[in-house]
């Protein structure tokens, strides 16, 4: 890269934002006309800016609202306690996820005797950190699938639609309970397995809805 590229490249971000002076803009444009490398940088910067501006919002995890309500209530910042509380039924979740779980256990080699891990394991902390990040992105992907599935269900005859809705409600319930179980056992790999299995089930079911041939 030559000296002029180096000088002008520092201005390409501002040029992308339309905030360079008329003189600077003219100099950049004259250079761009003869420099493919800087044209490519400019194109990438423009795409990047557009992609960043269009990032969709990320949904906060279920249960956060309730935790904030409890905290705010305890601090005297809101007067009434929330109206309901989701009851985790871990036993039921265990039963529902059992089949998928067995497969996961076989693959990962984690036996049922594995004890819940403590905070002291730095490596595991790192893994849980990755799991939570993955979950956030996963949830948002599922959100988009949810929207596609809702559109598809709108086109379905009422009876078929009813069946899908009932099953989807069941899956959502399992998911909510698995999520609560994870919230209360965040450092237990088993709890994460249940949750991920429940997500997997939902993805499979939503795919089924989206791919249903209505013709």
């Amino acid at each position: 890269m030559n000296k002029e590229c180096r000088q002008l490249e520092a201005l390409l971000s501002e040029y992308t934002d339309g905030s360079t002076s008329v003189g600077e803009a003219a100099r950049i444009e004259a250079h761009l006309a003869g420099c493919a490398r800087c044209r490519e940088t400019l194109r990438d910067l423009r795409r990047l800016k557009a992609a960043l501006a269009n990032l969709p919002p990320l949904r906060p995890p279920a249960g956060l609202k309730m935790r904030i309500q409890e905290q705010a209530g305890a601090a005297g910042l809101i007067t009434k306690q929330p109206r309901y509380r989701l009851r985790p039924t871990a036993g039921w979740v265990l039963a529902a996820a059992a089949c998928l779980l067995l497969a996961i256990l076989l693959v990962t080699g984690l036996g049922p005797a594995t004890a819940p891990l403590t905070d002291s394991s730095a490596e595991m902390k790192d893994i849980f950190h990755d799991l939570r990040n993955a979950e956030t992105l996963y949830l948002n992907a599922i959100d988009r699938m949810d929207q596609l599935a809702a559109l598809k269900m709108n086109e379905m005859p009422p009876q078929i639609r009813q069946t899908f809705e009932t099953n989807l409600a069941l899956i959502n319930q399992t998911l909510a309970e698995s999520r609560t179980y994870v919230l209360e056992n965040a450092n237990n790999p088993r709890a994460w397995e249940h949750l991920l299995a429940a997500y997997q089930k939902k993805v499979e079911f939503l795919s089924l809805i989206i791919e249903t041939d209505l013709s």
Binding site: E40, L45, L48, L58, L77
Partner: protein, 200 residues
């Protein structure tokens, strides 16, 4: 569908940004009074964006949950200060963003990377231009954003995602607008190189 009944109306939210009207003030007073139902509405309207800002500022789901929780408590304590000079949403996001910045500053020492332009160019020179077509897959973008050094990520989030001006960012971060501009350029170039997968 019934499941959507509790969702906030997006158009209503967008409209509200433009009006710093009596509704905003009345709503803020209701929240400040400790009304539990007003809080629920408050949460439903603003939690998604507040969580998104937190997540993108820190790149960590667990930490952003804590940050969102703390910011709501902070906003509940401060909301009586809202005076209607800006719309409620503008005011809230600004107060929340300032809170997040100082939260992260005390959470871990601020690190503004001072990577030289030469070393950025070194990364860029290695890349092949063919890779650019896959540049902006959204998940890649989120992942690379989370990998950016803290200072770079902050500038990108504030300017390119949240839409703050350099003057506003300068005030929030206690730096000069010129520094904000040059940091933004370095941050974008770094993000571009991360997306191209040339990082060591």
């Amino acid at each position: 569908m019934g499941a959507l009944a509790g969702q906030p109306n997006q158009d209503a939210i967008c409209g509200m940004r433009l009006l710093a009207g009596k509704d905003d003030i009345a709503f803020s007073q209701k929240i400040a009074s400790g009304d539990a139902r007003a809080f629920e509405e408050f949460y439903d309207r603003f939690a998604t964006r507040l969580f998104s800002i937190a997540f993108r500022l820190c790149g960590d789901a667990g930490l952003s949950e804590d940050m969102t929780q703390e910011v709501f408590l902070h906003l509940l304590r401060k909301i009586h200060l809202f005076n209607g000079q800006a719309s409620l949403s503008t005011w809230l996001y600004r107060v929340a963003t300032n809170f997040y910045i100082s939260y992260l500053r005390s959470y871990r020492p601020k690190q503004y990377p001072h990577e030289s332009e030469e070393s950025l160019h070194k990364h860029l020179d290695q890349k092949s231009s063919q890779q650019s077509s896959t540049l902006h897959h959204r998940l890649d973008l989120e992942r690379c954003l989370a990998q950016l050094p803290d200072g770079y990520r902050t500038i990108i989030v504030l300017h390119d995602i949240e839409g703050y001006k350099h003057e506003e960012i300068a005030e929030m971060l206690n730096i000069s607008p010129g520094t904000s501009k040059s940091q933004l350029h370095h941050a974008r170039m770094k993000l571009r190189s991360l997306l191209q997968g040339v990082e060591p």
